[in-house]
């Protein structure tokens, strides 16, 4: 031991007097680990493409998504209309591309809002326990007792039919999922010895929650968030179907799929392309989320 300590001391004195505080290029390493995961990169590529569609739809199509062309109804997919046209002669390719903007907006914003609120509620409930836990979780139980769609219907009906109101309705509906997932992982992380060690050094509650507990609960939060981007888009779809989601001419995948359900036997392209768009979005977000979870976990380093 004595020998050992002298050699390490010598070794140390060879280097400079100070060291850098921090991990070894954490961001770089996380990106590196992410890039090694091919499925995740594929997911990310699609997500980036979808974002591009949402931001610059005019770059991909010259058609106007809401302009009707009644002489050209139900045109089959062709080199002119890649995905064909719908019952009003609107170009489906253009509507799918522009619909990306609506769906992404709804999906991402409501996931962000419900994630932040849900994580805070779950973390506080799990960390403090007792009465606080009971109060918060009974409130969450009330939220969970109301079916998501029903809750959405009542909120949109009360506030009026618009995209911001739809986002509010969807966010409130999915808070409960986050709160429960976070609470459970906070409960299990709270018992870890390193949290006790943080208490022993005198760390404050906020520091313990944000530096010790939440970073170690990241995996289920990320999974829940990426999964619910897909579910949220689906719920929005359902509400649009009921006439409570996105107002009529605005292109939205769910609304497109549901409004063309009457023509499904004769004109398959009306439902298929918005459906594939929804599927690809859900799939790519899930791949991306899985890869992100693995990349953020330092223990999985190879």
């Amino acid at each position: 031991m004595f020998m050992l300590s002298t050699t390490t001391k010598q070794e140390a004195s060879l280097t400079q007097d100070t060291i850098s505080i921090g991990g070894h290029g954490q961001a770089k390493e996380i990106i590196g680990r992410f890039l090694r995961n091919k499925a995740a990169v594929f997911g990310l590529a699609i997500v980036v493409f979808l974002l591009f569609c949402a931001i610059f739809p005019q770059a991909l199509t010259q058609y106007d998504p809401i302009e009707q062309d009644l002489r050209n109804r139900f045109a089959a997919p062709s080199s002119e209309h890649y995905f064909g046209t719908d019952e009003y002669g609107r170009d489906i390719f253009a509507r799918v591309i522009y619909g990306c903007r609506t769906s992404m907006e709804i999906g991402l914003i409501s996931v962000a809002v419900s994630c932040i609120i849900g994580v805070i509620i779950g973390a506080v409930a799990g960390f403090y326990g007792g009465i606080t836990d009971n109060l918060f979780m009974r409130f969450i139980d009330i939220l969970m007792a109301i079916p998501n769609t029903l809750l959405g219907i009542s909120i949109v009906a009360a506030l009026g039919n618009s995209i911001p109101n739809l986002i509010i309705a969807l966010s409130i509906g999915s808070i409960a999922g986050y709160a429960r997932v976070v609470r459970v992982s906070v409960l299990s992380t709270k018992g870890m010895e390193y949290v006790e060690a943080a208490y022993a050094t005198g760390a404050s509650d906020a520091r313990i929650i944000f530096k010790y507990i939440l970073p170690n609960c990241l995996a289920p939060i990320i999974v829940q968030a990426t999964m619910s981007v897909a579910t949220t888009i689906m719920t929005a779809t359902g509400l649009s179907f009921l006439g409570l989601g996105v107002p009529a001419p605005t292109p939205e995948w769910g609304a497109m799929a549901s409004s063309s359900r009457a023509y499904i036997r004769d004109y398959w392209w009306l439902v298929t392309f918005p459906g594939i768009a929804i599927m690809i979005t859900a799939f790519s977000f899930n791949l991306f989320g899985d890869g992100l979870r693995d990349a953020l976990d330092p223990k999985l380093k190879s």
Partner: protein, 320 residues
Amino acid sequence: MATLVEVKDLKKYFKTPRGLLHAVDNINFKIEKGQTLGVVGESGCGKSTLGRTVIHLHERTSGQIFFDGKDVSDLNKQQLKEFRSHVQMIFQDPFSSLNPRMSVSQLIAEPLLIYKTTKSSAELSKEVARLMDTVGLARRFANSYPHELDGGRRQRIGIARALSLNPEFIVCDEPVSALDVSIQAQILNLMQDLQDELGLTYMFITHNMSVVKHISNNIMIMYLGNMVEFADAQEIFKNRLHPYTKALLAAVPIPAIIEGRKRQLLTGEITSPINPKPGCRFASRCPYATAPCHEVDPTLAEVMPGHFVACHNVKEINQL
């Protein structure tokens, strides 16, 4: 020499569905500045709970704790934070006691950041580097994560964290039991060197008799929350008076081919620490138990100078 830590009638009971679990019952001890108290007992005897209660990681049920002459039994948030800068803990498992999301340098810097003891980031990194040198951690590990290091190096991180605020008293909760034997010796030597250099006071919790003999000045033997024997380290190994201590020491393996001693095996059920009945808690397993052992709590008595034993029959058993 001045007394640094003193504990009077300390009790810690846990509420369980079946009743009160007497984890720590009526413990009294003093630790002099710069000395080491070894706390020994089998698993579940309350030794870790005792250590955690002394430094307020568990709130005590009753009793008093004195630190550096001041009563620290009841502390408000501010006082508790101040108290914790003087008193630190080294944990048993260096695998689970380090936040896996922090690098070595971040882990060591954490206590310094909490107490804002350094003014600039340059000063902070200098201090972290100094601590790493003190505990013999090569600086090239500064940006590594704990899971990349072996047990011995991880435990050095734990020690560096404990030392970072210049504490006077450190509770060591089985700091070497998770390490393999060659590393155990390194860590124990490091802890002793640090004690000599910095004048630290240790409360050393372990179930390993050879380790405790190596490092302690005084030894306290615990059994189911009670203190059964307390004496100087050399004295305990020479004159074990309590029947439980005898059994405990007889269980220490000796590397000898010729079996020179009689094996003493304990039989009988361990008494439940939940709502224990009056009487000696060791009575059900004690080969010398008599009727009063099952009815009256034994009290800790000074049988020989500086040697305390809690046993009704200590005189008869040892022919004193």
